[in-house]
């Protein structure tokens, strides 16, 4: 804690809790929109920070840590929590206090983490979150008794409704004066306790680890399933040889060193639970949850429901987004016309109307669809269905040697590969994590959506098929399925060749079914739209302007707009690469789109927007869709785009790694250029071969 001149007290508070306990909802309720999302140095786990000022002039810097079940640091995600709490994380100060979020419906399991944090002797407050659900389920908690046993204040909260937030803020004002009293109240069998105390002393003296952290380190060393050699850079030789002797002694005395600590802790937890919680089970409610689980995880019905939900999601994205998209599109056209009347004709006019507004506008139009995608994925997560989807998909993933847990990062990658790749940090097995990272960008992300929807809306007829589905939605689903099945196939190839290994055990918590919080859902959609518009305003604007320049100069004084475009830098570069992409059925304009969208995929749409705006500068009322439909190849006299070309472009985009941000994240996650370079190469090759095959099959069918 730091006292400043103006008597403002600065306090660093970390929020810790199990996954699915409502930690982020509580963080949102405390901070509102005053949040900053960054990264921990050297790693790509999102670092979510927020600032709040309390009544007594205390400024609290709140840090939302990743969810964890324990301090054993089994996965990279969980290691972040341990590193922050032990002060081992660079550029992140050791917290002055902790808010421990507990799922009030599930105190017994959540107490495991609380007792571990208590032992680190931080001033802390426990937020008994989802207290209303606990009451509904017939769980009553004796809060004064719980406070007495743990020795810390406990506040009932319902973060989604803002209940208990004022009380929590009041406690934060004086949190540094609360010293927990329930430290190390759990008792070990006497011989184990003696070895434990001895090791703590040794760590203090030899390794200069201060109390209370020496207790944590001693327990970690005594229970770790890892080989002791892996710790040789972290502890002195004397300490490690002592630990080795401890293992032998405990084994000789008949103690399982790995279970004895967990069991002792759980014995104390059961005492607390018995003394403070009464559970009058409402059998009716439980049986409803059981019934839902038996249906949604059924070996046949589970898949039927899963594919129905996916179909519904894509159909809705298409039909609901139509009107807001038309509205944005006409708004952008009106803006272009308005600016066009203000600025006199000339290069500046063309730059702003055709380059900036044309390019950025083409991408911004897709905001409604991207928001709907995030809304659906958010709802799947918040209702508790996502874990069930991972559970049933474990059967499919198991066939390719992967874990059902890998399915969650893959499903998140439908929104964006970057959070998807970051979500692989929950996977404990390093080989499986790498395979998941390598295949995650094959999931069709939201940046591909503008490419898909532009081409589908332009070239796929809107006819009804399979009852409730129409052909455009069916094509869209097929593209997503193509990405998913290729990803699974590649996982199998990697598992059998480069990254051999056995299938890890599947253990995954199934969170209770819940009604999602409107505030959290809206906040997430807001964050995503800001992020999307920021990208449109920076990278896409920049690329659009550069592209406008390259598509305008060098100028041809006379000739048709098409001839002028062919004469420009873009035209020349496009013609240069045309022989490479011709076997895929692409002309030079599509080639330019592919090259410029190496940075990010949606640039393909803005590139076409800029190129066609320049080519059809005399008729600004025509939409990009109509321009694509009307475009004739001057050499062949045939349309540049046909349904087959559109399908080929989409297949190319399903399979190709056209995203610099993903490459950067993979480099950081795998600590080097080897894997991102490999990933880029294999995906580009896959895209080329896949598109070539699709084009030739298409030609064969149409002939």
């Amino acid at each position: 804690m730091v006292e400043t001149d103006t008597k403002i007290t600065l306090l660093n508070v970390a929020i810790v809790g199990n996954p699915n306990c409502g930690k982020t909802t509580l963080f949102n309720a405390l901070t509102g929109l005053r949040q900053k999302v960054g990264n921990y140095p050297g790693v790509t786990v999102e670092k979510k920070e927020g600032k709040i000022v309390l009544k007594n002039n205390t400024e609290v810097s709140l840090l939302d840590l990743p969810g964890t079940y324990s301090l054993s640091a089994n996965s990279p995600d969980e290691k972040i929590v341990v590193d922050v709490l032990l002060g081992k994380m660079p550029e992140t100060p050791i917290p002055d206090a902790i808010i421990c979020v507990v799922d009030a419906t599930n105190i017994e399991r959540n107490l495991y983490l609380i007792t571990q944090i208590l032992d680190l002797e931080f001033p802390m407050v426990v937020a008994l979150n989802m207290y209303d659900v606990a009451q509904l389920e017939g769980i009553s908690i004796d809060i004064p008794a719980l406070e007495k046993m743990l020795g810390v204040p406990c506040i009932p909260t319902v973060a989604s409704k803002g209940i208990g937030i004022t009380e929590l803020r009041n406690v934060l004002q004086s949190i540094s004066s609360y010293k927990p009293t329930g430290i190390r109240q759990w008792t070990l069998p006497q011989p184990v306790q003696e070895e434990y105390d001895e090791l703590v002393e040794l760590l203090k003296q030899n390794d200069k680890i201060r109390l209370p952290f020496a207790y944590y380190e001693a327990q970690h060393l005594l229970t770790t399933p890892k080989q002791l050699e892996t710790f040789k850079h972290s502890y002195s030789d004397e300490t490690l040889s002592h630990v080795k002797r401890d293992y032998e002694r405990l084994n000789a005395m008949g103690f399982n060193r790995q279970s004895v600590f967990v069991e002792s802790r759980y014995r104390w937890i059961r005492q607390i639970y018995k003394a403070t919680v009464t559970h009058n089970k409402v059998n009716h409610q439980i049986s409803i949850h059981d019934k839902i689980d038996s249906i949604v995880t059924h070996r046949i019905w589970g898949f039927v429901i899963f594919f129905f939900l996916m179909g519904l999601m894509f159909q809705t994205i298409f039909s609901w987004a139509h009107y807001p998209m038309e509205l944005i599109s006409s708004g952008i056209n009106a803006l272009g016309n308005l600016v066009g009347t203000i600025i006199p004709p000339g290069d500046l006019h063309d730059l702003i109307v055709n380059g900036a507004i044309g390019g950025v506008g083409a991408v911004v139009t897709f905001l409604p669809q991207i928001l709907l995608l995030f809304l659906f994925l958010g709802l799947l997560e918040d209702t508790g269905y996502m874990a069930r989807a991972a559970f049933i998909m474990d059967r499919v993933m198991g066939k390719v040697g992967l874990h059902g847990k890998s399915f969650i990062p893959l499903l998140s990658s439908f929104a964006c590969a970057i959070p998807g790749i970051m979500a692989t940090r929950t996977i404990e097995n390093p080989r499986d994590r790498l395979i998941t990272i390598l295949i995650a960008p094959l999931m069709s992300c939201s940046a591909r959506m503008p490419v898909y929807t532009l081409l589908i809306a332009s070239f796929i007829p809107n006819i009804a098929v399979l009852g409730f589905l129409n052909l455009p939605a069916l094509v869209l689903i097929s593209l997503y399925l193509l990405g998913l099945s290729t990803a699974l196939l590649m996982a199998l190839v990697f598992k059998k060749t480069l990254l051999k290994g056995t299938k890890p055990p599947f253990i995954l918590e199934m969170p209770p079914y819940r009604i999602p919080s409107l505030k959290t859902t809206l906040l997430r959609m807001w964050e995503r739209s800001v992020l999307f518009l920021k990208r449109a305003g920076t990278i896409i604007l920049g690329v659009s302007i550069i592209l406008w320049f390259l598509a305008t100069y060098p100028k041809l004084e006379s000739g048709t707009p098409s001839e002028k475009l062919a004469h420009s830098f873009v035209g020349r570069a496009g013609h240069l690469i045309e022989p490479i992409i011709q076997p895929l059925g692409f002309d030079w304009k599509i080639g330019i789109g592919i090259i410029s969208s190496l940075l990010q995929r949606e640039v393909f749409v803005s590139t076409l927007g800029t190129i066609y705006n320049i080519e059809n500068a005399d008729d600004s009322s025509v939409s990009l869709r109509e321009q694509l439909q009307r475009d004739i190849n001057p050499v062949t006299g045939l349309p540049t785009f046909t349904a087959l070309t559109a399908i080929c472009i989409m297949v190319y985009y399903v399979l190709a790694m056209q995203c610099m941000s993903t490459i950067a994240v993979v480099r950081r996650e795998t600590n080097g250029w080897k894997w991102p370079a490999f990933q880029f190469a294999y995906m580009t090759l896959l895209a080329y071969v896949g598109t070539f095959i699709t084009y030739n099959i298409g030609l064969w069918i149409t002939s």
């Binding site: 079940y69 324990s70 054993s72 089994n74 419906t105 599930n106 105190i107 017994e108 399991r109 495991y112 229970t223 399933p225 790995q258 279970s259 967990v262 069991e263 759980y266 559970h279 059981d290 689980d293 038996s294 995880t297 059924h298 070996r299 874990a387 069930r388 991972a390 559970f391 474990d394 059967r395 198991g398 059902g404 404990e428 299938k503 055990p505 599947f506 253990i507 995954l508 918590e509 199934m510 969170p511 209770p512």
Partner: protein
Amino acid sequence: MYTLAEIPAGATVKISRLESHPETCLRLRELGFCENATIRCITNETSQMICEVCNTRVGLNFSTAKSIIVSPLQ
């Protein structure tokens, strides 16, 4: 003594011991699958099951469920 994989949906049993890789055992114990803990089986499909321990539902595949040795409640 049975393995958890053999327990039908709806039955409640007690964990006797865990017989798996140390890392898996540690994770299971931290999630509440401790020796002597009570466990309720919710679904038992051909290769997977969902059970409830410490009022939390956990999904397991059969190879993991087979490593959890259980006995009837007294």
